[in-house]
Amino acid sequence: MIKSIKNWILVVLASSLLVACGQGGGGSGSKKSKTLDNTKKAGFVKCGVSQGLPGFSNADESGNWTGIDVDVCRAVAAAVLGDADKVKYTPLSAKERFTALTSGEIDVLARNTTWTLSRDADIGLTFVGVNFYDGQGFMVRKNSGINSVNDFRDGISACTNTGTTTELNMRDFFNSKNIKYEPIAFEKADEVVQAYDAGRCDTYTTDKSGLAAQRTKLSAPDDHKVLPETISKEPLGPVVRQGDSVWEDIVRWSLNTMIEAEEYGVNSSNASSLKDSDNPAIKRLVGSEGELGAAFGLDNEWSLRIIEQVGNYGESYKKHIADTNILPNRGPNELWTKGGILYVPPAR
């Protein structure tokens, strides 16, 4: 009898512990700019990145993250907290990324994520812009005799990542060409590379930037080539949770500032000296004209800090994508004034 009461007390204690835990995790409301308040309180920006994609988000031996996606996180940190290094990076698989964002584990998702209608509208997410225009392509062995997607025949096997738009595009593509194929989808990119390298599949398909980056991990990178065709549109960009429009604007305009800065020739080394520029657009960028930061509850030098600490988009691209030989040619990711499609609304 005594024993059963003792057991019962234990059960009650354990259950109340559960309830207490539940309360701790619950309820982040939809109050305006709650994310901004929380970020300021925490002292760092919670940013979700990839598990390692050179050029976009990749950690070195000492755990420092670099890449153009990482630069978006750094820009937000510079704007909100004044220090681009105040970012807490969370590496996420393709499968985990949206849940991590909607559950509040991260506040910005900068993880080479394709902007699609269903993702934007359906699952509580908002895409704030595009920081890389990509497209899906195919990599094959150079000696395979395949020189274009038109050389694919029935029975070809294709390796890719699971849980990405790649898987869907692949089906659309092979169906439209009426080719029967064997899809082999892995959870992690590293395993795709190993399987393709071992000859499990004849072609490896993902975003072209990804192919270029992953090719460096193959045992003999020079034995492989990327086919010229691009089979899909993959506008990659940062994502935030739906329902906090102030935070959404901060992330959007942090990215836009980097692109606009390049357009006006403002970079990390000359930004502070351009405070007295004759061009009002430049003066607005470096914070010497207008009160643009006030709209999001930030000071007036938020954009200057982004440019000084992170650099403009061109600097970021050169450092992470071009100089690392991933995609030396900017292609569509060139400014609209130079033949590309990078075009952002004016900051005024």
């Binding site: 619950g26 982040s28 269903s118 062995r141 070809i156 699971t162 898987e167 959870e187």
Partner: protein, 392 residues
């Protein structure tokens, strides 16, 4: 009711009942709390809840499926494909783990030093390495070791093994149903025969060679259908085809993908070590006197193992082995790492990503594993009861 009565009641049954009822109530409250919490949070974040997505077109393809499937089918169908693949690899794994486990378990008790040591080494190595590493080892080791399609390992020109899989002939039947019925008929006959043989043994002490007769029936009856029933069987042998300069593929026949082979191999090798230890414990748990008594009435070594030791050992072996079967089934979810399209990769992976319905899909997947495990449990409990000591 007076006070005395109440006291009496409390001291007996109700004293135990009240805490139980309160605990259940508390548990229900906790569940309700979590549900409301999840609902309001999802509401706040603009996420809708519902299972309507299951009938939508999945629009992704799957490498390996036991039923007809492509991207134009629904998510529900994709779920079924994943579930069947999970069941397939678990069934293969359980089958081989049991055979290997029993063999190794008996081997560990062998008088032969070499056999006993080899079995011990096997157990100690494979049960002490994390399963996920073993899966990667078998998969990538196999991929690296196997030849490319064009230099396949050739088994008598009918079966081919290469990095893309193991290609075996496909059976093409005519009048398969007649063949199938003949097997059923054979099984029914065997059941009756076994009963008859047992009666003969119990009443007249006659031993019928029931095993040989059963095998004979199983072979002869289906053979007769080939001769008189119009049943015939032909094979579709895989053929090599060149797709481009250095890309080849086998077409026709059945392809067993390397992901399935290495996953089943890793799961059975790993689980067999635990089953082997169960078997060893079971056999050691049988009193020595039993074996000596059996030997003294003139039973052979094989008969002692089959008639005296095993029936008693099984009572010790079955319950922990049930756990191992359950573990194997749940461990098969590691398939996602090597692209074997099981329920976790297909449904809790790709489908979750494409629809974003995390709560719905994870609940369905959890419930599925729960039902799978419970079915195995129910079956093993039934078998355990059958094997238990029947007190007379």
């Amino acid at each position: 009711m007076n006070l005395k009565n109440l006291k009496l009641n409390l001291s007996n049954k109700n004293k135990d009942l009240i805490p139980q009822v309160l605990t259940v109530l508390l548990l229900i409250l906790v569940v309700i709390y979590f549900t409301i919490n999840a609902q309001s949070n999802m509401g706040n974040r603009g996420i809708s809840f519902g299972f309507g997505f299951l009938s939508q077109e999945s629009s992704f393809d799957i490498t390996f499926s036991l039923i007809d499937y492509d991207g134009s089918h629904s998510y529900a169908r994709a779920f079924l494909v994943g579930l069947l693949n999970t069941i397939l690899v678990s069934a293969i794994g359980i089958f081989f783990a049991t055979i290997l486990g029993v063999t190794v378990g008996i081997g560990r008790l062998s008088q032969n030093y070499l056999i006993a040591k080899a079995a011990e080494c096997y157990v100690e190595i494979f049960r002490n390495i994390p399963l996920i590493l073993q899966i990667f080892f078998w998969y990538f080791a196999a991929l690296r070791a196997l030849p490319l399609t064009v230099d396949s390992i050739n088994f008598y020109d009918i079966s081919f093994l290469n990095v893309k899989g193991w290609y075996v002939p496909r059976f093409i039947w005519t009048n398969f149903s007649i063949f199938f019925y003949s097997i059923i008929l054979a099984i029914i006959l065997i059941i009756f025969l076994t009963k008859y043989a047992r009666k003969q043994r119990d009443e007249f002490g006659k031993q019928l060679p029931i095993l040989y007769i059963s095998f004979g029936l199983l072979i002869v009856l289906p053979l007769l259908t080939f001769l008189f029933g119009g049943v015939s069987l032909s094979f579709e042998i895989p053929e090599l085809e060149q797709l481009s300069k250095t890309v080849y593929v086998y077409k026709g026949g059945v392809s067993i993908i390397p992901e399935l082979i290495s996953l089943a191999l890793a799961l059975s090798m790993y689980t067999a070590t635990f089953i082997a230890e169960n078997v060893r414990a079971g056999i050691l748990g049988v009193n020595k006197g039993q074996k000596e008594a059996a030997a003294s009435i003139g039973l052979t070594k094989g008969q002692i193992l089959k008639l005296v030791v095993m029936p008693q050992a099984l009572r010790i072996i079955i319950p922990p082995t049930t756990n191992q079967y359950l573990n194997l089934t749940k461990n098969s979810s590691l398939a996602a790492a090597i692209a074997y399209p099981d329920i976790v990769l297909v449904f809790a992976g790709t489908a979750l990503m494409q629809t974003g319905r995390a709560i719905e899909i994870i609940s369905i997947t959890m419930l599925t594993y729960l039902s799978l495990s419970l079915s195995i449990s129910v079956f093993m409990n039934w078998y355990n009861k059958k094997m238990a000591i029947k007190e007379k």
